[in-house]
Amino acid sequence: MASVSEDNLELQEIQKLEGHTDRVWGLAWNPTSGADGVPAVLASCSGDKTVKIWQKSPSTSSFHLKATIEETHTRTVRSCSWSPSGKLLATASFDATTAIWEQVGDDFECLATLEGHENEVKSVSWNASGSLLATCSRDKSIWIWEALPGNEFDCVSVLQGHTQDVKMVLWHPSEDILFSCSYDNTIKVWAEDGDSDDWHCVQTLKEANNGHSSTVWSISFNATGDKMVTSSDDLSIKVWGADIVRVQSGEGYAPWKHLCTLSGYHDRTVFSVHWSREGIISSGAADDAIRLFVENQDDLGDGPMYRLLSKKEKAHEQDVNCVQWGSKESGLLASSSDDCSVKIWKLGPRH
């Protein structure tokens, strides 16, 4: 792939995956698929109450529908997430439950249903080791669950603190630190006190700290886990950083600081951001567009700045709800939309 610093890259549409009968809210690439002879696998979840599993065929290099998970969730499935081992899929639904699925042959079996939230579950995330799961809801709380032997999941903590609907939760890529973002316009960081199951909020990133001025919809980390990008209804994308050595040492808490705000690019709510392993930030928004940003190598000022690498206007016919870079294959991007479709893109040289 051409060097990221060259300004000659664009997203090329490889395939459009159709089948969902309502808007597609979320996507998740299976983390252990897409290399070493294992075909890439993508899960998509929808307002049609189903989850679809798409697999890339080694012979044709195109994706086909492998399975449809239906008849468990009774309302919209809002978010899905694979465990780090790639063996389990968690699905979060407006029906207030989170289901855990395991692939058995060509089918998916429901191993467990996690109940507890009072209303719609918005997001689910596995920690780096797969030992913990976090879920969040319009009930303003975040639940942390421990994965036990025998497919048991026990709630170990209920985190209160957000004053409104929590839109997304995401674990740090290497440490057991949890991040959440909300309709209350803030991002919160949660850590455990020792090993006591006593989780508490160690930092809140609000408007006053150069934070967002409206609902924060999405969070993503860079590969090294020392930078984070967030997107919001305030139409901006913000980049934050922390001292990674301090984050990893566990010696007291390493605070996150605002580094850069990207605004004036999208003109409607930015629903999703995702940071690739190669350092490209992708964003998907209600203006039907996907934009790509990279660190500005020519920066002359203090600290890193980011610039627009490429944009794909009318990437979909309606709002883009989710963008996700592939797990292994470089430059592979999936996007999902209110137009009921999922699209597969490849970043390549501009024609």
């Binding site: 407006f94 839109k167 309709y183 409206s214 209600a286 309606q318 709002d319």
Partner: protein, 164 residues
């Protein structure tokens, strides 16, 4: 469900004579010649979709109660953008979110899917204006609300007269 009506004595305005639409407006025709008349017709045509929506509490339309007026709709067809501004009858109206939802659903069902719709209360007309506007324009909250059968029933009752 609230026992007493939020606004037991709404002001009902005299019905204005309706201007007939000057000729057919073909929305899907991407090659239609544009003119000022054509642009005005968009606002009036879209208004036609929402003026007869029934108020949630009274047997009157939103237009009768001046919740919706002729200036209520702003259309930018080129950018596929619509903004609706409505005026609740009282400042503390808890029906504001229901009315907003009715407006959104009606437009969703009547307009081509390329349209982006923003709904807001007229500035200065509601005690918790910012909070109401935020909720009405949060797509996820709207989607979840529309999965609530009671709320959908209420919305359908309000919309029924507007489909005639």
């Amino acid at each position: 469900m609230v026992v007493g009506l939020i606004n037991a004595n709404p002001v009902v305005y005299e019905k204005k004579e309706r201007r007939p639409r000057t000729g057919p407006v073909v929305l899907e025709d991407e090659y239609a010649v544009e003119s000022i008349d054509h642009l005005v017709n968009f606002s009036l045509t879209f208004l036609h979709h929402i003026r007869d929506i029934k108020d949630p509490e009274h047997p009157y339309s939103l237009e009768d109660l001046k919740v919706i007026t002729e200036d209520a709709i702003e259309v930018d067809d080129k950018r596929s953008y619509v903004r609706v501004t409505f005026t609740p009858t009282v400042e503390h109206c808890s029906m504001a979110t229901v009315i907003g939802l009715c407006l959104r659903v009606k437009l969703m069902r009547s307009l081509p899917s390329r349209y982006k719709v923003d709904i807001r209360v007229a500035p200065g007309t509601h005690a918790t204006e910012a909070a109401v506007n935020k909720q009405l324009n949060d797509k996820e909250r709207v989607a979840a609300a529309l999965e609530n059968p009671n709320l959908v029933g209420m919305v359908d009752d309000c919309l029924a007269p507007s489909f005639e």
